[in-house]
């Protein structure tokens, strides 16, 4: 077992073809089913150990599948302050060997991984409105980012646009609503493609249409910063929409 508390300094770490990164192990302490095909896995480190990471980063699970080791990245949905407990949140992907392997795991089993990785981070919001855009399980890295943003002074407006197919797929909804009640500078905007009240379902472009209307077509403020996480082509569509709409390239992260 590697010492997870003595994380790397300097920030950059050496690469080597013959000396791969150290892998860590943690035990599955709890599994929570958000929906039939979306689960959170809570990974507990051994006593005295924790993983230092920045909100938005991910770990790479090393999964023994069919005689080889699959590398599967999963964003960390918990906050660095939670210490020795790490949460990842994922969908069961049809024909996806990695997610199928994970969905077959039970409490008490161990998982190996490397990390933390990734440069999609938000340690400190710039002095402007921060707009977080998530779709489905893309909320995972956004969650610790928003927690961090809401706990940081000085305060600037923070908004979460969160799209999902239906109500049950809006993960951590109670948490977002609690934040909105406690923090008047935080606005939670859920966007459902198939509302339960019988209204005509909006198409998959709902998020793109909403962002175009609110932040490009009907507004001239270009000082906002955007943090986008989702699945598939929608992410690059949003990136292109915002950059072509006049926002600075580095103000649109994804």
């Amino acid at each position: 077992m590697n010492n997870l508390t003595t994380r790397s300094e300097p920030r950059a770490t050496p690469t080597s073809s013959s000396h791969p990164r150290p892998a860590y192990e943690a035990t599955i302490e709890r599994i929570f089913a958000h929906t039939a095909d979306t689960r959170s896995f809570f990974l507990r480190f051994p006593p005295g150990h924790s993983l230092a990471f920045k909100p938005g980063q991910f770990i790479s699970l090393l999964l023994p599948v069919a005689g080889e080791t699959l590398i599967r990245p999963y964003s960390i949905a918990s906050s660095p302050e939670e210490g020795s407990l790490l949460e990842i949140c994922l969908n069961l992907v049809p024909d996806g060997p990695g997610s199928h392997y994970l969905f077959a795991r039970t409490v008490g089993e161990t998982l190996r991984f490397t990390g933390p990785w990734g440069t999609f981070v938000c340690e400190q919001l710039p002095p402007a409105e921060g707009v977080f855009i998530a779709d489905g399980t893309g909320i995972a890295p956004i969650r610790p980012m928003i927690r961090c943003a809401l706990a940081t002074e000085p305060r600037f407006p923070v908004r979460l646009l969160y799209s999902a197919s239906q109500e049950s797929e809006l993960l951590y909804r109670q948490e977002w609503e609690a934040h909105a009640r406690a923090c008047p500078w935080f606005v939670f905007t859920p966007l459902l493609r198939h509302p339960a009240d019988g209204r005509a379902g909006l198409r998959g472009s709902l998020l793109v249409e909403y962002v175009e209307r609110c932040y490009v077509a009907e507004d001239s403020d270009r000082s906002r910063h955007f943090y986008i996480c989702g699945v598939g082509q929608q992410v690059t569509e949003l990136r292109d929409l915002l950059r072509c709409g006049g926002y600075q390239r580095r103000a649109v992260q994804y």
Binding site: T15, P73, G118, T119, R239
Partner: protein, 120 residues
């Protein structure tokens, strides 16, 4: 056949891979026929923390020769490289740079000493 020569800033011995681009993919990570695909498929390791999905910069390589034989950068690749340490005008992500040449001309890449993704 194409030829990929891999140099290491750490001083490790270089590796030379001869391969037929038409046989790609050589394994399952990264774009088929990419530098990462060619290296892994021929037993030459290259870090790829995101599984070769263009979500990190751990497979950052610096192309020393043969840039014209590689696929064009996407905006997503450029955005990621923007955050890579030691960025150079010929930096590429190994998982995205697909080798198009099969005329035998050698492509030379350098694996840099550092990556930034394991950062805290």
């Amino acid at each position: 056949m194409a030829k990929l020569r891999v140099l290491y800033e750490t001083g490790e011995p270089e590796r030379v891979i001869e391969f037929d681009p038409a046989q790609a993919p050589f394994q399952h990570d990264g774009q088929p026929g990419s530098i990462l695909d060619v290296m892994l498929g021929h037993g030459v390791e290259l870090e790829h923390a995101c599984g070769g999905n263009c979500a990190c910069t751990t497979c950052h390589v610096i192309v020393k020769r043969g840039m014209e034989h590689l696929s064009e950068n996407s905006e997503t690749e450029d955005d990621l490289l923007d955050k890579a340490p030691g960025l150079t005008p010929t930096s590429r992500l190994g998982c995205q740079a697909v080798i198009a040449s099969d005329d035998g001309e050698e492509i030379v890449v350098l694996v840099p000493r550092y990556t930034i993704n394991q950062q805290v």
